[in-house]
């Protein structure tokens, strides 16, 4: 045991001696080169709007290299190896040499060869001089990345040395093609002229338009997603509610009417707040998208119920009577006679309701659903510019305008189709919703819409409904 210990100690001393010698050698060898030039700076100027730390790729910036020559050496040229994919123009490279506090007006020549920027000083910088190379309007790689310093320099004696190491790095944030286009736009003279107008700059800044479109696109998809999920679900619920509302018995009718009146009589915004703040307190947890979709379904179904009711009641009483007189029961009459005719009539109004729901998705921004409006708000907050909202308006319009046109086409087709065969009634129904003839599809669609627009939530009646209700008061109803 003791022998083993002594043996180990003897060898340990030997190893320590070897290590010491090696360390000494290294400390003599390395500084010989390093001391010729000290790198003091390797930086790029932040170039992102409203952010003074980020350096964007593919966006003009100034890359600065600064070094100090050693006490015993003078510098003839410097070669800076720029990151792969950098664009820099020789004419934009500016070199400054300072000796003490004096600026040396020595001419210098910059050459760009691929990624290498070589600056040759006409007169070598003396020992102890400060040399600064500034590469203006440099486009660092668009993909971004972390870039250390590489390159070389030559001393006055013609000896070439590797660039000393530095722990400074340039962190470049990647940019998308849109951001690159945006920064390019910002360099253009016409854009500058355009932006010199305060209104145009604040509302229609070309560069922000370019960056907003792809950024808002994601939000737009969410908005579309909410409607595409919600609307089809609101249809059957709305149909069910309209049946409740028209039921023969008082209880289902009261339930339907109460639901419809409450939902139509309160703002969607309030309904969203109740759901989003109330349900979590109740311990109901679900993601924002789902919750938002549920509220929209519940809201829209109430409006759809009234659309369906008006549509169904606009079908002439004779249709019910004809079907019933053939022995069809209530359900058969509804599904094979009334609803097929109603669908045609309510499609324009339903499309309007679709548009309303699509626009209403913007309210979901207030409860944290990352939809179109939310994105626009975020970008506007970051840039202090209203342009993203204008872009958002565009995203809403590219859906709503074609749909509105579609509605007009459908209505025109309906009234034309009718006019061809039944001159009198169709013409009358077009000129005035009040004199609507129950058999005229266009007239009904229009009158439903008119009442949607002008009537209060609880008082939605259209001419056709009135005709129906008059008939009902006269006891002109179908018995079962």
């Amino acid at each position: 045991m003791q022998i083993a210990f002594a043996f180990a100690r003897k060898h340990l001393a030997g190893a320590a001696a070897v290590l010491f010698a090696a360390a000494l050698a290294v400390s003599f060898v390395l500084p010989v080169q390093a001391h010729a030039l000290d790198v003091e700076r390797w930086t790029a100027k932040p170039n992102k709007d409203g952010d003074n730390t980020t350096v964007l790729g593919a966006t003009a910036t100034r890359v600065t290299w600064q070094g100090q020559t050693a006490e015993d050496e003078s510098l003839a040229s410097v070669t800076i190896e720029m990151p792969e994919g950098t664009t820099v123009g020789a004419e934009n490279v500016k070199t400054t040499v300072l000796v003490g506090l004096d600026r040396l007006d020595a001419a210098s020549e910059a050459v760009v060869d691929g990624n290498d920027v070589t600056v040759t000083l006409a007169e070598p910088a003396p020992a102890g001089a400060l040399v600064m190379v500034e590469c203006n309007r440099t486009l660092l790689p668009g993909g971004g990345g972390s870039f250390g310093l590489a390159g070389s320099y030559t001393t006055a004696d013609g000896q070439r040395h590797d660039m000393p190491a530095t722990d400074q790095v340039i962190n470049v944030t990647g940019t998308s093609p849109a951001e690159q286009l945006s920064s390019w736009l910002n360099q253009q003279d016409w854009v500058k002229a355009w932006n010199s107008n305060k209104f145009l700059h604040l509302f229609f800044d070309p560069a922000i338009i370019v960056t907003s479109v792809p950024a808002l696109f994601a939000g737009w998809l969410v908005s579309i997603g909410v409607v595409v999920v919600s609307f089809p679900l609101a249809i059957p619920l709305g149909l069910l509610l309209s049946f409740l509302r028209m039921a023969k018995h008082r209880l289902p009718r009261a339930i339907g009417a109460t639901y419809i009146n409450i939902v139509r009589g309160t703002p969607l915004f309030l309904q969203l707040y109740i759901a989003f703040f109330g349900l979590p307190l109740m311990g109901v947890q679900m993601d924002n998208f789902t919750m938002g979709a549920i509220v929209l379904v519940m809201n829209s179904s109430a409006y759809l119920a009234e659309i369906f009711r008006a549509g169904i009641q606009s079908i002439s009483q004779g249709q019910f009577e004809a079907a019933r007189s053939l022995g069809m029961n209530g359900a058969q009459t509804m599904f094979f006679v009334i609803i097929p005719q109603t669908v045609r009539r309510v499609i324009p109004t339903m499309t309007s309701e679709f548009i309303l729901m699509y626009k209403d998705t913007s309210l979901l921004a207030a409860v944290g659903v990352t939809e179109l409006m939310m994105y626009a708000k975020t970008i506007t907050a970051a840039t202090g510019n209203v342009t993203p909202y204008i872009v958002a308006a565009g995203f809403y319009l590219i859906v709503t305008i074609p749909l509105t046109k579609l509605i007009n086409t459908m209505e025109a087709r309906m009234s034309n189709g009718r006019r061809k065969h039944k001159k009198g009634p169709a013409d009358r129904s077009i000129t005035s919703a009040a004199s609507v003839v129950p058999d005229s599809d266009a007239g009904v669609a229009r009158s439903i819409r008119l009442s949607e627009t002008f009537a209060g939530p609880a008082s939605q009646t259209d001419a056709a409904t009135r005709i129906y209700e008059d008939a009902k008061r006269n006891g002109n109803h179908i018995s079962h």
């Binding site: 004779g318 079907a323 053939l326 069809m328 065969h421 006269n474 006891g475 002109n476 018995s479 079962h480």
Partner: protein, 265 residues
């Protein structure tokens, strides 16, 4: 009584072969009353209709004749009285009115064709849904019936593509396809242009000749005179006078009837 079942190429007479049982009552109405609010439209109507009989109801507007007709298949719910169809009291609560309606065809003033369906589909729909005939059979019957009313060429037209007279004949075919025991006509020609009335009336005449039991509310005096077995004159919710066309038209007993007929002709 029409000379039922004399083998005429009548329409839809197929299943009333039993009409030889001459005096069988198909519809019996007892003390029928109907009020709309304060308005008493029917004030105690008693009426029996025998199998194969064609009854034409005349009267000024508001006399309750359409209401009477609509009560027969309960499109209007009577306020009082009873109605029997064959062996069934249709005014009884437990009666399945849909079964009765399937056997009572009705033709409306405004045709009431289903505008979203072609003529053929109009005639097929209730056959399939109510009588549960399969599609092929319903289609075959629809084509047959449309052929009989002279619309064989138009089976695939939609109502909006047909004239009023054609629409009304489709409506008749639609009712006949259900093999009804009784047909009700509620001013079937009133909404038609005069030149179209004739086609519809001739279909109705042929139907009557085929032995169909019919109750017809109309203003067509010529039709009543030619086709009716019995003419009923209604006024103020009462049956004022009834009898053969000769009796009512040529020798009316009531002043109201005389007055009405005087105005008409």
């Amino acid at each position: 009584m029409s000379e039922a079942n004399n083998g005429a190429a009548g329409i839809g007479a197929a299943d009333i072969a039993g009409a030889d049982a001459a005096d069988e009552t198909v519809i019996r109405i007892e003390d029928l009353r109907k009020t709309f609010g304060d308005n008493e439209v029917l004030r105690g109507i008693d009426l029996d209709v025998r199998r194969g009989e064609v009854v034409v109801i005349l009267g000024p507007s508001g006399s309750g004749k359409s209401t009477l007709l609509r009560c027969v298949n309960l499109l209007e719910k009577p306020t009082g009285g009873r109605i029997f169809f064959e062996d069934t009291e249709i005014t009884a609560k437990k009666t399945d009115i849909n079964k009765v309606r399937a056997k009572v065809g009705m033709v409306f003033q405004n045709f009431n064709l289903f505008p979203h369906l072609t003529a053929k589909k109009n005639v097929m729909l209730a056959q399939q849904k109510v009588l549960h005939r399969n599609k092929e059979e319903a289609a075959r019957i629809a084509e047959e019936q449309l052929e009989k009313v002279g619309l064989g060429e138009r089976i695939d037209y939609r109502p909006s593509e047909l004239s009023g007279g054609q629409q009304q004949r489709v409506a008749i075919a639609r009712a006949l396809a259900m093999d009804p025991h009784v047909m009700l006509f509620d001013e079937a020609t009133s909404a038609l242009d005069p030149e179209l009335v004739r086609d519809v009336l001739s279909v109705m005449k042929e139907l009557a000749r085929g032995g169909m039991t019919m109750i017809v509310v109309t203003h067509e005096m010529g039709f009543a005179r030619d086709v009716a077995d019995r003419v009923i004159f209604m006024d103020g919710g009462h049956i004022v006078e009834q009898g053969t066309p000769e009796e009512v038209f040529d020798h009316p007993t009531s002043d109201r009837t005389k007055d009405f007929l005087g105005h008409i002709s």
